[in-house]
C-alpha cells in the first residue's frame, strides 16, 4: 500500500452498510447488508414479485420502498445482480506478446485487454455490462490473477457478459431513480458460481429454479464456462430435464458435470419436483453419462436459505471488491 493509502484508508471500510439489489427470475429483492470480517450480515430486506419483464422497474422501486419501511436509511452504495432477460456470456482467451516483459502486469494492462475483448465481442443489439479476467497464463505458467507478475507470453481468459441496450437502460433508470452509486452490476449466477468455486467445486451445473424460468451456470475445470437462462421453471417441471440436457450438451462428453446443484429463486419454489425429475432422467442414454450425476440442493453458502443464495453471493462479491 502506498504512503497515501496508509494515511487515508479505504473509505469502504468493513462494517459499513451497503445495498444489494437482485433482480431474480420472478422477484426483486433489495437488502441492506453490513460488512463483516469474514462474511456479510443481513440487516433487512424488502421484496416484490413481478409477473413479466416489463414490470421489473416498478417491482424494484416497490422492493426498495418495502425495505425503506423497515429501515432508517437506505445506503447509496450498491451492487446490482441480474438474471434472465437477453443474457449472453462468453469466455475469450486473449493471447499476446507483452512489449515490456520485465515489467509486472498492472491493472491498466488488464483493463485494456478487457476493453479490447469487450469491444471485439460483437453481438447484434447487445452491449457488454460485465467483464472480468477469470484466469490467466504467463509464459505457460497458470495463474489466477496476473497482476504483479512478469512474463512475455500472456494469455488472459476473459469472462464477458452482454445484455440488450433496453435492459441496460432500465438498470440505469433504476440507479438514477433511487439515486444510487452502483459499484458493480453483474450476473447473479456469476456470484453464486464463484461461491461454489471457492469450495473447490470445479465441474458442475448450478441451476437457479424459478416458478416460470430457470438459469444455469456451467462450471468447467474451475472456470465459469457460460450462464444460460431458459423459460422453464417449477411450473413446467415435466420439461426441465430437456433444458438441462440442452445446456449440458454444450460441453464435450468427458467434461460434462458430475454435480447438478439446485437452488430456488424465491421461497415459494419447491425444488423436490425438479430433484425427482432429474433423478429419473436417463443420463446414460441421453447424454452418455457412465454414472448419473449427483443432484443436490445443499446450502451453497453455509447458513443461508436456498432462496437467499443469489442475494448473499452478491453481498460477498461487494465485500471482495471492497477489500
Amino acid at each position: 500500500m502506498s504512503l497515501f493509502g496508509k494515511l487515508i484508508p479505504n473509505r469502504r471500510k468493513k462494517g459499513k452498510e451497503f445495498l444489494v439489489i437482485e433482480i431474480g427470475l420472478g422477484r426483486v429483492s433489495a437488502a441492506i447488508y453490513r460488512g463483516g470480517e469474514t462474511h456479510p450480515h443481513l440487516v433487512s430486506v424488502g421484496r416484490k414479485e413481478f409477473s413479466s419483464y416489463e414490470n421489473i422497474f416498478n417491482a424494484t422501486l416497490e422492493a426498495v420502498d418495502a425495505l425503506a419501511a423497515i429501515s432508517k436509511k437506505i445506503p447509496k452504495k450498491a451492487i446490482l445482480g441480474v438474471t434472465d432477460g437477453v443474457l449472453r456470456t462468453t469466455t475469450t482467451v486473449a493471447r499476446y506478446d507483452r512489449p515490456k516483459p520485465k515489467e509486472p502486469v498492472d491493472a491498466g494492462e488488464v483493463g485494456k485487454v478487457l476493453e479490447q475483448i469487450s469491444s471485439a465481442v460483437k453481438a447484434e443489439d447487445l452491449k457488454t455490462f460485465f467483464s472480468v479476467v477469470a484466469s490467466a497464463k504467463l509464459d505457460e505458467a497458470s495463474i489466477t490473477n496476473p497482476i504483479g507478475l512478469k512474463g512475455e507470453k500472456a494469455a488472459l481468459a476473459c469472462f464477458i457478459a452482454l445484455k440488450s441496450p433496453s435492459e441496460l437502460a432500465m438498470f440505469d433508470k433504476i440507479i438514477d431513480e433511487l439515486e444510487l452509486r452502483a459499484e458493480r452490476a453483474m450476473p447473479s449466477s456469476f456470484a453464486v458460481s464463484r461461491a461454489l468455486l471457492k469450495q473447490n467445486l470445479n465441474d458442475a451445473l448450478v441451476l437457479r429454479v424459478g416458478k416460470e424460468k430457470s438459469e444455469g451456470a456451467l462450471l468447467s475445470e474451475g472456470h465459469i464456462f457460460e450462464i444460460l437462462p431458459f423459460d422453464i421453471g417449477e411450473a413446467g417441471v415435466d420439461y426441465i430435464s430437456i433444458g438441462i440436457e440442452a445446456i449440458v450438451s454444450l460441453l464435450e462428453k468427458e467434461k460434462r458435470p458430475q454435480t447438478i446443484w439446485l437452488y430456488s429463486d424465491e421461497d415459494g419454489v419447491n425444488l423436490e419436483g425438479t430433484v425427482e425429475k432429474l433423478n429419473n432422467f436417463a443420463w446414460e442414454e441421453r447424454l452418455g453419462y457412465e454414472k448419473a450425476p449427483e443432484i443436490t440442493t445443499k446450502e451453497i453458502i453455509e447458513g443461508v436459505a436456498s432462496s437467499d443464495t443469489g442475494l448473499t453471493a452478491l453481498a460477498y462479491e461487494y465485500l471482495e471488491d471492497a477489500r
Partner: protein
C-alpha cells in the same frame, strides 16, 4: 404447417402445441423481438423436444448471433483448455527465481582404497561369495522390507439409545454425577417483510329511500316520531320515518287527511326498492283507519360483498413469519457455532417490531407485515451432550461410543432460573470396539499365523477378521512380518 405465437406465449405452451400437432413438420413463427426467440437454449429445447416426439421444426425468425472477434483473440474458446486454477480472489502465488547454479553442490575428488589383494583369490570363490551376499541381502529384504499384512477386524454394528433428564446451566462445568451440562445463550435478531392475501368478507351497500303519504281516516290527530317503523302490508323489509310528522284528524266519516314524510329502509339491499302504490302499516294501527302509501317507487337499495383484512389473516401471517424468522435465526446460530445442539423448543422468540400496512376490517386484497424478532437460544456443545449421556448408560465391555457416528438431541422441559434449564437429553450411540491398534500390531509382529489367529479370536467385540498378505505368496512362510510398520490394522463394520 405453420404455428404462430405471440409475445406472451410461454415455452411450455409451444411444447404442448408441438406435442398435440398432427403434422410431422412444423414451422414456428416467433416474434423476432421476443425474449423467448432471442434465447438459443429455448430454441434448443424446442428442437430436442420436437425430436423426442418425432417431429421436425423450423423457425421463421433467427436470433442474433455472437460475431467472431476481429483482433486475433479466440473468442468463445473453451476455457477447459486451460488447466485448473484457484479462484481469482485468492492471494497471488509467490514466484521465486533461483539463479542458475546457485544450488549446485561440488565434490572434491575421492581416492579409492587399493583392492589389489582381491586379484589373488580365485574368481569362482569371489563369485560364490558375492552370490551368497546377494542371497542373504535378498532374504533380509524379503523378510523385513517387502512383505506386509493388512489385518482387518470386523465388528457387529450395534447402537444403544439412552435418555436422561439433565440440567443445562450457563457457566457450569460438565458434571456427570450432578447431571449438569454447560450451556451458553445466543441471541439473534431477524426481520423480514411478508405479504398474504386478505380473506375476510363484509357486506356493504345502501338502504332504499323514498317518500310515503300517511292517510288518516280518524277524527283525531296522530303524531309519529322520527324512527317510527312502517311495514308493507304484504310483509317484507321495514322502513323508518326520517322526521317527526303529525297526521291531522279527518273532517268526518268517509273523509281523510294526508301528510307526506321521507322514509328509509332498515336494511341495505335491493329488497327495499318497492314499486309505487305499496301500502304500509304504521306501528299497530288499523290499516282501514290509518296507513301509509308511496306514490313514487322507493329506490337506491343495493348491497355488495367486499374483501377485508381479518384478524385471522393478520394472525396467520404473523405466525408464518415468526416461524420463518425463528428458523432463519436458529440456522444462523447453528452456522455460527459449530458442533452444537439447540434443544427442541429451546428457542425463546420475542417480537420486537410488528407493523401491518392495513388495519383489521379495512378493505384490501392483501396485507403486509414487517416483523422483527429476537430469538434467544440455549446452546449446548454436542461433545458435552454425548459425553454426559454416554456416562448414563452401560457400554458393553470391549466397546466404546463413537462420537462422530452417534447422534444426540435434547428437548426443552422447563426454565428453572434465568440461567438454568431442565432438558431431556437423548443419545443414539454407535458402539465400536475399544481396541488399541498400535498394541495389536506390536503383539502380532513375528507371530506364527496360527498364534496370531488365536490372539485375534481372543479380542473382545471383534466378530471376525481377515489377514491379507502382500505379496500374497508370503502367507506360505507361516508367520507375520517382523516389523510393526508392515502390519496395518484397521477396524471395519461387518456387512
Amino acid at each position: 404447417m405453420k404455428l404462430e405465437f405471440d409475445q406472451k406465449t410461454k415455452l411450455t405452451d409451444i411444447l404442448e402445441k408441438i406435442r398435440s400437432s398432427t403434422e410431422s413438420s412444423l414451422e414456428l413463427s416467433l416474434p423476432s423481438d421476443s425474449l423467448l426467440a432471442a434465447n438459443s437454449i429455448n430454441k434448443e429445447i424446442i428442437k430436442r423436444f420436437a425430436s423426442d416426439v418425432g417431429k421436425e421444426v423450423s423457425f421463421s425468425s433467427a436470433a442474433p448471433a455472437v460475431a467472431k472477434d476481429e483482433l486475433g483473440f479466440v473468442e468463445g474458446e473453451d476455457v477447459s483448455s486451460l488447466p485448473h486454477q484457484e479462484p481469482a480472489e485468492a492471494a497471488l502465488p509467490i514466484v521465486s527465481t533461483v539463479a542458475e547454479g546457485s544450488n549446485k553442490k561440488t565434490f572434491s575428488k575421492i581416492s579409492l582404497p587399493n583392492f589389489a589383494f582381491l586379484q589373488k583369490i580365485p574368481r569362482i570363490y569371489l563369485a560364490a561369495g558375492g552370490l551368497a551376499l546377494i542371497l542373504i541381502f535378498a532374504f533380509f529384504l524379503f523378510l523385513w522390507v517387502l512383505p506386509s499384512v493388512d489385518v482387518t477386524l470386523f465388528y457387529e454394528a450395534s447402537t444403544k439409545s439412552a435418555s436422561s433428564e439433565l440440567t443445562a446451566s450457563v457457566g457450569a462445568e460438565l458434571d456427570a454425577n450432578k447431571k449438569t451440562v454447560p450451556a451458553t445463550t445466543e441471541e439473534v435478531s431477524k426481520n423480514d417483510l411478508a405479504t398474504a392475501k386478505a380473506t375476510g368478507k363484509k357486506n356493504v351497500g345502501e338502504a332504499a329511500k323514498g317518500r310515503v303519504t300517511i292517510n288518516n281516516y280518524l277524527d283525531s290527530d296522530r303524531f309519529f316520531s322520527k324512527g317510527a317503523v312502517i311495514t308493507p302490508t304484504s310483509g317484507g323489509i321495514t322502513f323508518t320515518l326520517d322526521n317527526d310528522v303529525t297526521a291531522s284528524a279527518s273532517a268526518g266519516f268517509g273523509n281523510h287527511t294526508e301528510v307526506g314524510v321521507n322514509v328509509t329502509a332498515t336494511k341495505t339491499g335491493p329488497e327495499g326498492n318497492l314499486a309505487a302504490g305499496t301500502n304500509f302499516k304504521i306501528g299497530s294501527a288499523n290499516t282501514s283507519q290509518l296507513f301509509a302509501r308511496n306514490d313514487t317507487a322507493l329506490s337506491g337499495g343495493s348491497t355488495k360483498t367486499i374483501t377485508i383484512v381479518s384478524e385471522a389473516d393478520r394472525n396467520s401471517l404473523k405466525d408464518q413469519l415468526v416461524a420463518q424468522l425463528t428458523k432463519k435465526a436458529t440456522d444462523e446460530i447453528k452456522s455460527q457455532n459449530k458442533d452444537v445442539v439447540i434443544p427442541e423448543a429451546g428457542v425463546e422468540v420475542t417480537v420486537s417490531k410488528e407493523t401491518y400496512d392495513v388495519d383489521v376490517g379495512q378493505e384490501a386484497a392483501e396485507v403486509s407485515l414487517s416483523l422483527e424478532v429476537t430469538a434467544k437460544a440455549v446452546v449446548l456443545k454436542f461433545a458435552d451432550l454425548v459425553s454426559i449421556l454416554t456416562k448414563t448408560m452401560a457400554v458393553p465391555e470391549g466397546f466404546k461410543v463413537s462420537e462422530k457416528d452417534s447422534s444426540a438431541t435434547a428437548s426443552f422441559l422447563t426454565k428453572t432460573t434465568e440461567s438454568n434449564w431442565r432438558i431431556q437429553g437423548k443419545i443414539n450411540a454407535v458402539l465400536v470396539p475399544d481396541v488399541n491398534l498400535e498394541k495389536i500390531s506390536k503383539d502380532l509382529s513375528g507371530k506364527r499365523v496360527g498364534s496370531a489367529k488365536e490372539y485375534l479370536d481372543g479380542l473382545k467385540a471383534i466378530k471376525s477378521y481377515s489377514l491379507k498378505f502382500r505379496p500374497s505368496f508370503y502367507s506360505a512362510i507361516g508367520f507375520l512380518p517382523f516389523s510393526t510398520s508392515k502390519i496395518h490394522v484397521k477396524v471395519e463394520k461387518s456387512q
